[in-house]
């Protein structure tokens, strides 16, 4: 069992926000920390990694105590078996892809491990390139591969895909899922993208202002469980315009804008920028090849 009890005052844009976290999460599962920027998501990852010290609390990963303020236990990052993937990748510019991975290796004799990971992450043909010669998606893959080399007990991903375009993001989400299942790795992913959370998460912790406001499966969190829809998507309202006596609401679902007709009554509860569930029941979908 993994346990997180953390408290610390965070300096935010609107003054001091107290971070208060008390939760558990399962071994081998992919847990997503979801919430707006400034909610404290990355801070929690850094605390688990030992890069930032909480004021109070306890961090237990796979029954090993990494931090316990009451017993004055605080393992340095070097002693915590973690794989950390930074948002900006943090690859070492002076080393090739292969050297980046070899550097992460504790025991030089296990160089075959590096080859296996290069193979699984489809990086073998880029092994001798320097990071500056790689595209964003490739850098991301190297960062993930490097984090896997040490066989971490927990994989910490700080918005690893946010800097990539949509197509690359989708592709890497699939790969991430494959790798996470392949190694059966306990993983914490920070994300603010609902689509990504739906696709990847087995368990979601939703954060706002330093507190967990909801936890559960993606369906429980975003489900809108009152509607038993056949088609159900999450999206964001990008526009509301009046057209004669009805209103047309434009909703961004994934990369597509969908227009939905609404009545004045319905529109009263909606505003631009709001996250909504879009569901439909009675229609038969028509599938056309493109």
């Amino acid at each position: 069992m993994n346990e997180l009890i953390l408290s610390k005052d965070l300096r935010g844009a609107n003054g001091i926000i107290p971070l208060e976290i008390n939760t558990t999460f399962n071994r081998g599962e992919l847990t997503v920390l979801f919430g707006k920027s400034g909610a404290g998501k990355s801070t929690i990852l850094k605390m688990i990694a030992g890069l930032l010290e909480p004021t109070d609390g306890k961090i237990v990963i796979e029954d090993e105590v990494w931090y316990d303020s009451s017993k004055k236990i605080n393992l340095p990052p070097q002693k915590r078996k973690i794989g950390f993937v930074f948002q900006d990748y943090a690859l070492f510019p002076n080393m090739t892809v292969r050297q980046n991975l070899l550097y992460a290796l504790d025991d030089r004799k296990k160089a075959s491990k590096v080859d296996e990971i290069l193979h699984v992450t489809e990086l073998a043909n880029l092994a001798n390139e320097k990071p500056d010669a790689l595209s964003g998606g490739q850098k991301q893959r190297v960062a993930l591969a490097r984090a896997l080399v040490r066989e971490p007990k927990i994989l910490l991903l700080d918005e690893p895909l946010s800097a990539l375009d949509f197509a690359m993001r989708t592709k890497l989400q699939d790969e991430l899922l494959k790798i996470q299942r392949y190694f059966n790795l306990t993983t914490i992913l920070v994300s603010h993208d609902i689509g990504e959370v739906y696709k990847l998460a087995q368990f979601v912790l939703e954060l706002a202002d330093g507190k967990i406001i909801k936890k559960g499966t993606p369906n429980e969190i975003f489900g809108g469980s009152k509607i038993s829809g056949k088609f159900k998507f999450s999206g964001e309202i990008v526009n509301i315009v009046q057209s004669d006596i009805v209103f047309v609401v434009s909703i961004l679902v994934g990369q597509n804008v969908v227009k939905v007709v609404s009545t004045q009554e319905e529109v009263r509860n909606l505003k631009i920028g709001q996250k909504v569930t879009l569901a439909s029941k009675a229609f038969n979908p028509i599938i056309t090849p493109i």
């Binding site: 990694a49 794989g83 504790d106």
Partner: protein, 227 residues
Amino acid sequence: MIEESFMQTMSLTFKLAGITTLFLLIIGIPLGYSLAMTKNRLKPVLEAIVSMPLVLPPSVLGFYMLVFFSPKNAFGQWLDETLDLRLVFSFEGLVVASIIFSLPFMVHPIQSGFAALPKNIAQAAYTLGKSKTNVIFRVLLPNIRPSLLTGIVISFAHTVGEFGVVLMMGGNIPGETRVASIAIYDEVESLNYSAANQYALTLFLISFAILLSVYAINKHFLKAELS
């Protein structure tokens, strides 16, 4: 005869610059690193001290060092009696004076090199189980090579070119403290213009060659990093 004293002075000049640069590198890396990383409130004080030689007249620095290291004073006496080291009017004294005088020229490039590195690089290496020392030597230093090169060359060139501090601390003892810049002054005073010109032209050409190579190499480094 002139030829021999010329060679002696030039080799002393470069020996002084070489030793000074080596010591400065050893001091400059940890000092530049801690200045770049510290959040201590006293950081501006330390920065001001390191930068003092940039604005202080060399004669001021030389004068205080002369007083401080004089065997007539407590510290100078202690050095003299316990370490058998006399720093005034000696080569060792010139090395100490040059290190202090050229300190900002080594520390500044190294400090800004460290400060410009993404913070996550070091943190990523810590999460990979690497110690601070390991991270400095394997990750941070290799990525600030242009800054190191700039620091080394500028400190070297600056030490070759210093005058005031050397004159105050070292005087003009051939083979011991008589470096090229002092020799030029000395030759001009005795109206020996051709000898002065020999020193001056040599320093002029060497300084130009050194700076040219820094800019050429750093351009090469930058290009290599971008491609």
